[in-house]
């Protein structure tokens, strides 16, 4: 017979945090070496857009202008595809070892300039320097390094048949991990011998264009990688271009579906890495302290601008009060503010548009009857910020339990049995990731088998590696990035 779990007898002492001593500012001061204006990178050179038009990229932490970015139009996208097509034959024919050596060089040159790139990434996107320094930039270099080694071993990728590159690949990436998503897209495509036309997100183009400098320094042949900047209009030109043999997209499910419709009637290949609404499931035998850290990492990493964020917390009823109480304690000490400060946990929301989306969904949560908790915290006066937010009393039909918020907002639901947890976790059109916290090995394997998600983190969360395939089930997209599985998505059967 299961024993009823009784609440702990002793009343927990209230913890006192933070307000006894003020933190001194600890800004990262490395020079991001920004140019006042960034042109398009086509055929190995920086070129002005045919339209002559530029748009501003601002720092979301203080709304100040960082640089002007070229706006690519149809003629520029045509030129990029022409350059890529021109480079393809000789790039594909370059011996794998030599192709790989370019990628090794890129990884090394990026490591050399890691701190500079981290500061630029943080200023352009708003993420804490701790994350860009310790995660985004080193992981981007790791992706180039990993895939470099594949370039001369392609005969081992697909057992039973030989593979060949597809041609020119059109790639469109999001603003949440600008440099890292670029590395995820470029490295396997190039290792396989494809050429690329890539469009970064309009709010975060700078590190992509800084990487173009690295590509020049590495001596990468002109036209192998071409970068065109702009907003959704430019993106549609890249994804719809007849010169693309494949389109690889990371972004919202809505835009992914539009691209699928755009490409219907063509034989172009696609891979889609789309949205998510991951369940992070905590069982009553879980190591609660570790789980709370994992929950915090799962939803507040990168301000929650993560497609695989653990945005739905499912807690077993017996430990729900304890978990929620510890979570509240934990987020009281999260530091929200200047992304360049080394002590900052939550930086700036990427754009005013995203901040408005978060506010709209949070308002719907309140309207639909969920209870909100936000710790007291002082947000900077300028810039786009949102405090870490918990919702309890959430039901499965609430918008905050169904829609991707893409912000630091956690919806908490409870469950009693394993079957109920599985049912609730899978009750979504998405299927990108999931988390499981339990001490029981057989339960981890059962959950991992039953959860309809491409990545399952057990007693951990938000782990990534170039050797580990990442990608979704259902409306979270198709195709994988990383590992042998991801590499094969850039190949055809020879």
């Amino acid at each position: 017979m299961p024993q009823a779990r009784t609440a702990p007898r002793r009343t927990r002492a209230r913890l006192i945090f933070g307000d006894l001593w003020e933190f001194d500012p600890a800004p990262e001061t490395a020079d991001p070496r920004l140019k006042p204006r960034y042109d398009l990178f086509i055929d190995g050179r920086f070129v002005r857009p045919r339209s002559g038009r530029y748009f501003d990229s601002i720092n979301p932490a203080n709304e100040r202008k960082l640089a002007e970015i070229a706006l690519a139009g149809p003629a520029d996208v045509d030129a990029a595809y022409a350059a890529a097509a021109g480079a393809f034959r000789s790039w594909a024919a370059t011996p794998g070892l030599e192709r790989g050596k370019y990628l090794f060089r890129i990884a090394r040159l990026l490591q050399d300039r890691a701190r500079e790139f981290a500061v630029a990434e943080t200023m352009d996107g708003g993420k804490p320097i701790r994350e860009s320094r310790d995660f985004d930039v080193p992981m981007a270099a790791a992706h180039f390094f990993y895939h470099a080694g594949w370039a001369d071993k392609l005969e081992y990728v697909a057992p039973g048949h030989t593979v060949a590159p597809l041609g020119v690949v059109g790639q469109v990436i999001p603003w949440n991990f600008p440099l890292l998503m670029l590395a995820w897209k470029l490295a396997p495509a190039l290792a396989m011998g494809n050429c690329v036309v890539l469009k970064p997100a309009e709010t975060t183009s700078i590190t992509a264009l800084k990487l173009a400098e690295v590509l020049q320094d590495a001596g990468l042949p002109p036209g192998v990688v071409n970068l065109v900047t702009g907003a959704g209009g430019t993106g549609a030109l890249v994804t719809g271009h007849p010169g693309a043999a494949k389109v690889a997209f990371t972004g919202s499910t809505q835009v992914g579906k539009a691209i699928m419709r755009q490409l219907a009637g063509t034989d172009r290949r696609m891979s889609m890495e789309l949205g998510g609404k991951a369940a992070n499931i905590v069982f009553d035998d879980a190591p609660i302290g570790q789980a709370v850290e994992g929950i915090v990492d799962g939803i507040f990493f990168n301000q929650g601008h993560v497609c695989c964020a653990g945005s739905r917390l499912l807690v077993q009823e017996g430990v729900a009060d304890e978990v929620v109480s510890k979570l509240k304690d934990r987020i009281r000490v999260l530091r929200v503010g200047d992304p360049l400060d080394k002590n900052t946990d939550l930086g700036a929301i990427n754009s005013s548009a995203q901040l408005a989306t978060i506010r709209r969904l949070v308002a719907s949560g309140l309207r639909e009857g969920a209870s909100m908790f936000q710790p007291p915290c002082r947000l900077p006066e300028r810039g786009f910020y949102f405090p870490p937010t918990l919702f309890t009393n959430v039901t499965q039909s609430h918008r905050i339990a169904r829609e991707e918020i893409f912000g630091p907002v956690l919806s908490i639901l409870t469950f009693r049995t394993v079957d109920e947890a599985i049912e609730k976790a899978n009750n979504t059109a998405y299927g990108l990731s999931a988390g499981v916290w339990t001490d029981k090995g057989s339960r981890i394997l059962r959950m991992s088998t039953e959860l309809k998600a491409g990545v399952v983190w057990a007693n951990t969360f938000n782990r990534f590696d170039p050797s580990s395939p990442f990608g979704g089930y259902k409306e979270s997209g198709f195709g994988r990035e990383g590992g042998r599985q991801g590499l094969l998505d850039y190949a055809r059967r020879a």
Binding site: G265, V456, R463
Partner: protein, 287 residues
Amino acid sequence: MHRLPVTKTPKVYIGGAFVRSESARTLRIDSSDGAFFANIPQCSRKDLRNAVEAAAKAGPAWARRTPYNRAQILYRLAEMLEARSAELVGSLVRFGAREGDAERGVALCADRLVHYAGWADKYEQLLGSVNPVASRHFCFTVTEPMGVVGVLAPDSPPILGLISMVAPVIACGNTVVALASEKFPYSAILLGEMLAASDLPGGVVNILTGFRRELIPTFATHAHIRAIYAAAGEDERKALRLGAAASVKRVRFAEETGAGWLAGSAQGLDAIRAFVEFKTTWHPIGS
């Protein structure tokens, strides 16, 4: 005295049962000499939805079968087909196939089932991986079936095409709703009878007969069909892709045509790979 032969009422195989169309519609099929042969069901969109429901219901248990068990069931299906190969050849010849072609095609049908029977407990070791991540985690990737897969068979060759498409899809644990060749549907009806006599659980493979134009829109948009494997013309491809976008459905088109289905390249691991999802699991390694 002349004995009147007992003719068969062909029915479609849905959810492990032989049924007529819920619409009560039939299609007349004639032998290649023009003589009346039979009336077969003209399946409706509702029949398709019913078949999807049957396939979805059969899915979890089929996916949970051990690979060894799925392999034996596919092999048993080859046994059933081989035993009735003369009847299958006759069904192709009746509708215009040359005898030699029909014999070669039917022999290949059985061989293809044997091929995929052997794959059922092997593809995982070739497609999955243990990932050497740069942290103290055990990280592994395994495949899982996608769920219900819609199969649109070619007209030529009707039965070898259908079997070549269905076998890889079920070998890795998916369930199937297939639409038989519109021009030459009868051999697919015979296949349904063989499926019923094999150990394949009801609902794992469901075969409809009818008009492609009527059924393709539902194949494309039905949200519970998670993937499509189609031998399709240009317009059909576009319609399938457009409909598939609404639920981010995976779509694979068969590149084989005509004699291409006889080639060794028409079978293999990549047909299985196209209908599995990759799932990666991470767990910390204790210190």
